[in-house]
Symmetry: D2
Subunit: 430 residues, 4 copies
Amino acid sequence: MTTRIDKALIAEQNAKLEGFVKEDYEALGNKLAREDINIDDITAMAEEFQIAVPSWGTGTGGTRFARFPGIGEPRNIFEKLEDSAVINDLSQATERVSPHFPWDKVDDFKELKEFSDSLSLKWDSINSNTFQDQAGQEHSFKYGSLSNTSKESRDLAIQHNLDCIEWGKTLGSKTLTVWVGDGSNHPGQQHFQSAFERYLESMKEIYAGLPSDWELHIEHKMFEPAFYSTIIQDWGSNILAAMELGPQAKSLVDLGHHAPNVNIEMIVSRLIQFKKLGGFHFNDSKYGDDDLDSGSLHPYQQFLIFNELVDAEYRKQEGFGPNYMLDQSHNVTDPIESLMNSAASVQRSYVAALLVNRPLLTQYQNDNDALMASNTLKHAFNIDVSPILAMARLRKGGAIDPVATYRASGYRQAVAKDRPSNGQSGSGIV
Amino acid sequence: MTTRIDKALIAEQNAKLEGFVKEDYEALGNKLAREDINIDDITAMAEEFQIAVPSWGTGTGGTRFARFPGIGEPRNIFEKLEDSAVINDLSQATERVSPHFPWDKVDDFKELKEFSDSLSLKWDSINSNTFQDQAGQEHSFKYGSLSNTSKESRDLAIQHNLDCIEWGKTLGSKTLTVWVGDGSNHPGQQHFQSAFERYLESMKEIYAGLPSDWELHIEHKMFEPAFYSTIIQDWGSNILAAMELGPQAKSLVDLGHHAPNVNIEMIVSRLIQFKKLGGFHFNDSKYGDDDLDSGSLHPYQQFLIFNELVDAEYRKQEGFGPNYMLDQSHNVTDPIESLMNSAASVQRSYVAALLVNRPLLTQYQNDNDALMASNTLKHAFNIDVSPILAMARLRKGGAIDPVATYRASGYRQAVAKDRPSNGQSGSGIV
Amino acid sequence: MTTRIDKALIAEQNAKLEGFVKEDYEALGNKLAREDINIDDITAMAEEFQIAVPSWGTGTGGTRFARFPGIGEPRNIFEKLEDSAVINDLSQATERVSPHFPWDKVDDFKELKEFSDSLSLKWDSINSNTFQDQAGQEHSFKYGSLSNTSKESRDLAIQHNLDCIEWGKTLGSKTLTVWVGDGSNHPGQQHFQSAFERYLESMKEIYAGLPSDWELHIEHKMFEPAFYSTIIQDWGSNILAAMELGPQAKSLVDLGHHAPNVNIEMIVSRLIQFKKLGGFHFNDSKYGDDDLDSGSLHPYQQFLIFNELVDAEYRKQEGFGPNYMLDQSHNVTDPIESLMNSAASVQRSYVAALLVNRPLLTQYQNDNDALMASNTLKHAFNIDVSPILAMARLRKGGAIDPVATYRASGYRQAVAKDRPSNGQSGSGIV
Amino acid sequence: MTTRIDKALIAEQNAKLEGFVKEDYEALGNKLAREDINIDDITAMAEEFQIAVPSWGTGTGGTRFARFPGIGEPRNIFEKLEDSAVINDLSQATERVSPHFPWDKVDDFKELKEFSDSLSLKWDSINSNTFQDQAGQEHSFKYGSLSNTSKESRDLAIQHNLDCIEWGKTLGSKTLTVWVGDGSNHPGQQHFQSAFERYLESMKEIYAGLPSDWELHIEHKMFEPAFYSTIIQDWGSNILAAMELGPQAKSLVDLGHHAPNVNIEMIVSRLIQFKKLGGFHFNDSKYGDDDLDSGSLHPYQQFLIFNELVDAEYRKQEGFGPNYMLDQSHNVTDPIESLMNSAASVQRSYVAALLVNRPLLTQYQNDNDALMASNTLKHAFNIDVSPILAMARLRKGGAIDPVATYRASGYRQAVAKDRPSNGQSGSGIV
């Protein structure tokens, strides 16, 4: 594990900042104490917070127009895990990795599990892929996978998902996430109802193969790769499908997969209420499924989503316990840096949401005191919780400043030597 | 009934155009015959087509900035019915009127029923109104109605809906449409889940008061009057509410109530599939709930929606039979003209959708022949069915050219004398 | 001035919080000192910051569906000024008021000027109104004002703007803001080019009447009240019009007047670059021109706009010096509370933008270090500048907590007695 | 030219339909005669109508997720020209081809010109490409091209555009179209003003290299590949850049490159008015830059754009004469079929716009008769001009039904044998 980050380096880097962190942490602690909040309780919860990284996120992303690779990109799942270990070592918030098949398929999954164990990494939700054709694939997904008019194509897609479950069992995963690009580009190309019926029939076969302690997460998306209609185009189709399948089926929310202006935090609330919130793909976006770094554009939206999540925890909402994952495309940054940064950004929203005075908020809501209700949320959001995040990392052995420490480590330059480009992207972007 | 349109005038106006209509009708009949379509069968179906007009649509609309009234606006439900009778006399497609309470409330509903009978008009869905406070109202709807935190306000809103049902029974209506403006303008103002729970609880009380042969239609809307969150913000919340309530509850689609870019025809298909399509509020829009004349901006979208509706009829989809209604705001046109014009526009989409070769379309869909599937729809859409629409009106005693005949009648100028402005709008716009 | 806020009350309320403010201010000062920032310099700049309030914003707003009035609403410009004085007394950031004519028209403008002087209030930009017809108006604006096909209507609109300039001279204003609702609801209703030519011709007449030390601000808006096309629909038409008119004509940006997803901060940069940024109407929105409280939904967008503004100051950009104004509709809150809160929200963005390390940012930009450039902005944004804002108010004699002090004053209840409702809104909403 | 379409086949296919076309043409002619329109005049104008095809459009497109190739795809510009010749032979509306460099770069441009001459094809606008890195490229465009912070990268991009002009001279083109993907993914990544200044400086160097009878077309795009900001994000930045450069610089409108809900026909009008409309990239879209087949989703919008174009011709607007081109991505159809179909779709809008009664429309506009103005456009749109389009093709030697004739020819199957896949796309999609 020569490429791992040296603990001594972390300590050396932290030493430069530790004094300031403690000073700020104390000041913040005093401030929170006035509101009867014990900062160490919050920090302890921040330390517990975990968000999975996507294996494919460790490669440089791109668009249909171009991909501009970086140096030292991981070429296979083992190298992606190495990078993921670096991310977790420094950020201390990403101990789980979410794989994507067949991109991450290996001959020996036990060997893969041993390798991830050796890096102290665990496996999050398994992502199946039926939106691409693989070399030599007998029946194409060009016109759909689980909803294809051809039974052969559907069966291939079903079998792939069942394979994913098998591979996931070996890795210790407990969730299968199904996102399909099925849809149409022309009015009339597809019979909406027939296609949805075929989709549901296929999904029932997959659901039937699900171990009893697994969940099946359905991901909706408004558009892309299909540009007129998409089979699970929104949370409405998503929750209806999940309800048709049964209690182990839930809905997954990717923040970039909605129509413009949609109130996503309200969708989150609805899914919580109907016991169907499976998990998240966190990212940020301005236009479509831009897959930008989480919280980089809309930090308050991210906070409002966590306001719903923390509220559900606070209310001990039945059946609540979503998976958190980053799902981003890093086109102009070092993926390791973006993933560390984004994990901390999501963690920031979680921590800030913990600071909301919920009994007071409830009172304002009951009194229809809109301004003070709004200010109650804003008050928590405006608190700079950076010292808590830094302290949580410090206490767990991570880096106070993950990006600076990473840069100081020379990791990327080091792996660049070991990983001559094979001309392909680890990100799955074509 | 001195204000009604003189049959002789209609005949005289029609006489000028009848020759051309017959010539075009014959040419189109020949063309359709090549595709094994009997034009008279289509015309007969066009004659059967009916779409309700909203009582409030007969008044000039406006915006929060201004309302510029026209002359001779109806000042009460009796005058609105007079105008509606004109619309139906000329267009022959709008024999039903949808009232709005309390705007159209009268002391004696039997008298109102007799008046509408005398005009050969029937009553469509009853619209309740809990998005405004009425003079002297004891408990305000400022912070919501069916979902208000105050039980008094909720009870008031429930009772109003129960009253609407009673009034509707007298009028012979069979549907109650519930649209509420409940929502919030500030993050935190409302607890999403609690509010939705209160809404469902209130709706259950209304549902309990529904006669067994009635339907309850729920209308969703993304925003306005609430600008951060709306309780039934989309078809997802809508269908979940309808499912919670029971089989008599269905979802109503207003074309202007969705997020930008949303595929509305697909939502229509989903509601059909899950036996929850209750009806439509037809209008057109470019930005928000613009309430423009139906089909004036997006005629192909309107056609694609009717493609779904005709397909459901064609497939004899169980539980299918939605209400059709116009819901428009006529800010710069004579409402009577816009309503006649819009009824014909919707009828045009219906007729064009009847011309789709469905077995051929199915074959293209099964073959994934996207281009020819698309062209099959476009082929039907491109056929100019104006002669069929004109012939349908002619055969039923209406006007070949409703707007020209209306203008020739001098109706508006005549009623302007009888209806001095009372400074208020019949449109309900404040 | 019995309704003004008692200085003793402010002092009493401040006394409760002053200790905490000083403690937090000191901690923040220490933190900023590490970055070579003197907190008192920042606080001094915060004290200088001013944003105008709109006279009409002191009344409760509404939508086309309803307006739910509050108690004690101002019924004329004198009462609006009383409320504005309260806002400025407590927030110390709103010494200017922007009037709207003819809503605020008086017989004696000298008397009005003396009254505002007595309240230590100044006059910001004059807003003309040609989007409504006034009682008895000879030529209607129903089909447009400055671009109307009727010369009589255009001349009326031109004259009203020239009148506004005259009234503004007496009040000491230096800017005329022109927003028109001109546009169309139907394709074909208006000839786009002819209408824009008429608009430009009318504007040239107004421009010709502008004193040499005044500016003419043009406000663009995508839609509403016109729902198909609007004459100045975006910043493109806006800047072209401003360029046609001359150097005293500039563009005004209302944050809620753009298409979904548009990058507003980039538009701000373009207007700065071309020396055409006249000013702002600050508010927040999610869907359309929602006119929500500034920064209540998108605080980071507000910060990014101020990042451009502070950057222009920092670069001493030629011809830079925009007007800042709030333009909000307060439908569910006390307008005084919302305006104080929003002024502070905008001030927060300004102060945070002052904390951006610009030389460092420039270096990251030159190096294409996207992540660190982004983090440099986020670092400033995440700093909780509440202590600076509170200290700025405290040092100027305002309230540490404006809303709490206002509530403690009982002002609203007091004026409610003096201002029995006249059934009309001071907000201009119909 | 063994792969060309056999004239005899066209004749044979036409023979089956010619009788119907003549019958429909005569009926339509009679109908138009009533409106004093001579159908043959319109057909003559339809015959003149030309729209260029993009060389890259002949290859199957794709998304960042996948590309599903078809059979017989062209592997180089010569094969793309062969396909283009087929398109023009059958559609008779696409005699020009627009190349894309370096995709279509050859060693000997004279040879390429001779080849295109042999196919009776001409060359439309040259498209430069600085949104991708080419193999071995010394200075990357990862962080921008014409606006890159690195002078080396900028110079490379400038030189490429100057090269394009040289190549275009040999081919007989008269236009260079510049679209760049320059922009940013993170707030702060780019200094908006500095970047735009660098862009303008680079463009001035390109403009200086433009022959005096050429035009330089600037293409704006809201987003993608950059997802936070794009340097020429809208028509506002576009026209300002064109004005800075000079009279030979104009703006190009791609229908898919705007914010949601934007009124594109109004932008077209503005560009016409300011003498800056350079040309079009026609396609259709629902969500973003979907690059769907022109007119497949929004036929009325396409008509409204042509209403502006035909109106400018009608008014003999100075400096008017835009280039028309298709720019589509054919992901699920045979590109040849889609391009023929789309050319006819655009032609349909042009022909329908010719049928608008402009003097009558002007009168309705002057009278503010919104309904009849709208109906005047709709009347023209609703006329089924298919017989005119078919007759225009027939008279020029093309196919009455291009798709059916193409399928009957077996062209695709034939070329599939000659063009074994090289694993790369002719569409430029990565």
